[in-house]
Subunit: 217 residues, 2 copies
Amino acid sequence: MRISELSERSGIAVATIKYYLREGLLPAGERTGPNQASYGEEHLRRLRLIRALIEVGGLPVATVGDVLAAVDTPDLSMFSLLGVVQHSMTTPVPAAPDDEWERASATVHAELARRGWNPKPSRPAIDTLTAVLVRLAQLGYRDWGTTALPSYFDGARVIAATDVEAALTAGSREEIVDAVVVLTVLGDTALSAIRRMAQAQITLEGLEADNTTRTDN
Amino acid sequence: MRISELSERSGIAVATIKYYLREGLLPAGERTGPNQASYGEEHLRRLRLIRALIEVGGLPVATVGDVLAAVDTPDLSMFSLLGVVQHSMTTPVPAAPDDEWERASATVHAELARRGWNPKPSRPAIDTLTAVLVRLAQLGYRDWGTTALPSYFDGARVIAATDVEAALTAGSREEIVDAVVVLTVLGDTALSAIRRMAQAQITLEGLEADNTTRTDN
């Protein structure tokens, strides 16, 4: 198909497709004339993935290039590929190595060690969690890392197992990467909403238990 | 104490404190002269809560007023108070009642019904989750609502039980509201980071299982 049809079928403007071509994100089409090239279904699939990475994942173009390079390295195992994608999607938080930071970092690493989780592939996420613990301590919630954190790990593990399974069964390498990005990012919003529903439900159950007790007395 | 000391001890600028006084968020101090008033520890506590609602919770000033009114209504049960706070913290998503929206909404309500959860107090969160399901369907993940959603509810329930318990044991009504806001908002960031750690760990376990199988052959 010509670039105009590629644009129509993907819903992406011709100028944007040309930009992706210049940046090397989209491979060149097959040259059919001095100013013409022909594109195939593989270009449509690639465009769909680029869109997911940029629009849903919020990845900068340079990082998109790194992820696509990993997709296109068949020697790279599926699990290593997932590692590249997961890593690319976590915005690193600058570490502030004062006493409060060290204390929070020790709490996170103790929880990981207790579960036998390898901290290595999770460096950016560990720093984000450490920053949250520092902020909680500043706001007067220093105990949270020992009282609530384990439940968060328990709940997250249940959810993440579903995430990884959903991604691995998505199909080709490109489709798997698409699934990881889309399900991780939109999953955050879904989880935040469901957590609020669960809080409301548990609160309501408490209210009903409360009323029952009051009627009993 | 005078307003200057209140500012110093709370870390909030005098102009900001005067703004909160004008908006009725902070009760007036005891008048000690034509241009002077005296403030007590209760003003410090209230300032701390206003900050949590505005800076951590991201609530607009009008909503902060509603939450504080609920805090100051002793007849309102603790559980109803929690309901007001939870409701104030969920940004409503505009419903787009087309076929895709109806389908997604039915999926969410079926999951709630299956668990016996009351949908009433969760209206804004339900709309947010529905919007996520619509977006996922548009991106080609129409099955997610049946395959992955139940795990999200399972995991979220484990975490929310800890959230509600942590909030209810925080102390006074003001401290409980402070805890709900801080732990809900920072908990979202923590959960997102921990979910990525769990994804990485499960991926790594898969990689190791993969290598073992490969060595065995």
